[in-house]
Each structure stands twice: as structure tokens, then as C-alpha cells.
Subunit: 220 residues, 2 copies
Amino acid sequence: MATSTVENYLKHMLLLSEGGEELVSMGALAEALAVVPGTVTTMVKALADSGHVEHRPRQGVRLTAEGRRVALNVLRKHRLVECFLVNVLKMDWAAVDTEAEQLEHAISDEVLDRLDALLGHPETDPHGDPIPSRQGKLDSQVYATLATCVVEKPLRIVRITDQSAEFLQFVEHNGLLPGESVRVTERNLASGLVTAKKTAGRPLVLSLAAAGKILVQPAR
Amino acid sequence: MATSTVENYLKHMLLLSEGGEELVSMGALAEALAVVPGTVTTMVKALADSGHVEHRPRQGVRLTAEGRRVALNVLRKHRLVECFLVNVLKMDWAAVDTEAEQLEHAISDEVLDRLDALLGHPETDPHGDPIPSRQGKLDSQVYATLATCVVEKPLRIVRITDQSAEFLQFVEHNGLLPGESVRVTERNLASGLVTAKKTAGRPLVLSLAAAGKILVQPAR
DNA sequence: ACGTTTATTTTGACTAATCAAAATAACTAA
DNA sequence: TTAGTTATTTTGATTAGTCAAAATAAACGT
């Protein structure tokens, strides 16, 4: 069995490679895992020996089919656990990522399946992140963001790509939850500011950086 | 934070001391934790340094108030998780101990509280084992067993004290679940056999060892 | 093309948890 | 007592995962 450390390495590789094809740098992985780069190099070599990744020295690392399989299973556990914590235990939207971080390594595939059934086989977690299927299919659709979308076009929020509690609290406080309708009324590259409006509500100003973490699709 | 290894050491000390006062031997602990005795000695000294236990060299070990607090919290998590797995996820009675072994170290106190509420604050887990209260109270009532009870007296099964899947499957298969009514019709010390009868059913023969793991109280 | 910055890898050391096997202490039976 | 059994402790090694800091390689700018 993969240790939870191994599972974390693989999961973050999957998240950082946006689908699994590109090489992930040691630096990015070190950052994501909150360890020093040397540790990642060492670990990645071990993961290459165990067949979970392919390591190109000085270039980066990529998941093998087997590594991807493991990573998708962990991600599925993480996101289904988040659904459970929010939908069943009514926990705070912004706090569940931390909880799921622990639980994703502790639940068995058996529990996973039953949780999935209990929740009605959801397709996304409470933040809008797609849940990998049992068979390892992950919706990798590319969405526009409030930083890149067409101005004045009616939109629907589909996903928030920053799981930090602070950001999620901000999002919730301003009613920018997945499913909500909005449109961007103004975008100023120079100042780095985006103005958005909900159908009913006062205009809301946010930075380009923040706007880029809110994924949208055309309304309806 | 206590690592899950530490939590396991403390939990097993609590279980082996039947309430917390007697000294637990290194050998018993090694057996329960499936490690060699030398490992336990080393670990127990570390736990003494961190204030979780009091170590009497060559005699045994005992939980301190703090160690007991931690152990009770872990046990509470274990047993509430078992309730959840059986009552909500409808998992197999005999399989949940293994699952809970992992989950008890991964769920936060916050999740614990919500799980407790969701389940309606149960007092025992599916095997009849008492769940420590939030405040750390643990029902330590001493029950008779099918090996020690009065013959022919009507009884109610309250608890099964062997969590191995094999034994639990045997118990389930013979309808000796907690809550069921039985009486012992015959007990033969020489042959080591006990004969029990459910209100409606054929007589059931089991060994004294097995009978001793089934706790009962007077019916009604 | 040359020196500088930046990313990566290597090296040596550390911690937590473990085992195997030797040493020690305690108990037990003649 | 004294030898023998049994439980415990000690010692030395091992594995997984980590860090700090030095060494190396690649990329970048002029």
C-alpha cells in the first residue's frame, strides 16, 4: 500500500499537471507539499523506482498510468469526503478541505463506494471541483474565469479553484458560490481590478488574481 | 499532536487496564499492538517523558490523567465511527473494526461532534461496547457472560467483547446480536461446553471461551 | 562567450518507529 | 540457595521522511 506521504505526492502531481500530461517541476511540487526541494528530488526518485512516476532529471516528473490511477483514487476520496462533510454533516464550506486532507488517506475503497452512493453519485464537490469517476475519468473541461470572460455576458459560476479557508470565506461572504449567476461589468488591466455584478446586488470589486480563481460558463 | 502510533499505544493501554487503574505489562501491550516487547519498552519511556503514562520499570505502565483523556477521545472516535459505518453506510458488522482503526486517527473533534449528533448520541457501538462521553465518562459496568451467568435465567445480550471478524460473523450467524434474548440451558465445566437457547430456536452449543465473550444482563 | 541568477541534485544529519538478539532482572521450583 | 524459566530492558541496525547547506547544471542577459 502507498503511504499517505506517497499519496500526497501523487495527488499534487495530478493537480499540478492539470490532467496529467505535462512535466511538473520539483520546485512546484516542493511548494505544494510544503517541503524543501531536495526532499522532493529524493522522494521522486523513490517513486520512479516503484513505478508511480517517470523522472526526467533537471526537467521534471510525470505520473505513469499506475501513478495516475492512485492519484485519481485519492482525489476521488478527497472530494467525496468534502461532499459528505458539507452535505451530510453541514460543516463549514471553508473548513472541509483541511479535514478531507486527513480523511482521504484513511477511508477504504469500500467506504468510498458507499459514501458515493449515499451522496447520490455527485459529479462535483462543494467548490465545484469535478470528482473523478470510479473508473478514473476526470472532467478536464477548461472554463473561463472572471478574469478572462467576455464583459457584460451573463455567466454562471461553476467552480472555485483556491481551497484556502480565507479565500473561500471571502467567496461565500460575497455570494459567489458555484451555481450563482453573475456578469463582469468592467475589467481594467492597468489597475488589475475586475468589477462583477450579481443579478440582484451591488457591484463587487476584486483583483485579477482573485477573479482568476473563479471559473464560469455561459449562463443557461 | 499525538501521532497515530501514540494514540494506539494509549488506546490499548486503556482497553487492557479495564478502566484505567491497574498496571499493564509490556508483554500484553506488545501482543495487542503486534510489535516486539523491546519496542514497547522504548515507546513507553517516551510516553512517560511526554507525560502520558507513568512507567514502573519491570512492573508495568499506567495512564496518567492526560494519557487517559487522549485514550478516551480515540476510543470515542473509534466507536462512533463504527456506529456510523453500520447505521448510516450499512456496512458489515464484522468488518467495521478494521475500518475504524484507520479513521479514529483521521477525524477531528469537530467531525466527531457532528457525527455524534447525526447518530443521535448513541451510548454503545454496534457490538455493544460503551462509547465514552465527550467529557470522558466511560460506562464500566461489569456484566455477566454466557460462561458465568445463572443457568435457565432469561437474559438479554448487551455486548460482544471480541472484535475479530471471524467471531463476529459467528455471532451474527447464530443470532446472538446485542439486544437479543437468550438463556443458558446447560453448562458443563468438564467438557468446556455451554448450551444456549434463544426464545424461538434450536439449542446452540459453544465453548466456554466463546461464551465468555458474550456479555449479558437479566432480561427486562 | 562569460559571468550571474535560478533550479535541481547531492551529501550528511536527524527523528520516529520498528526489529533482532544479547543482557539483565525477577520469579519459581527443587 | 541455586539453577532454570520468563519477562523486560538494552544495544545496534534499519526504514521512511525530512532539513540544511554545499555542489552542480541549466538558462539568461549583456
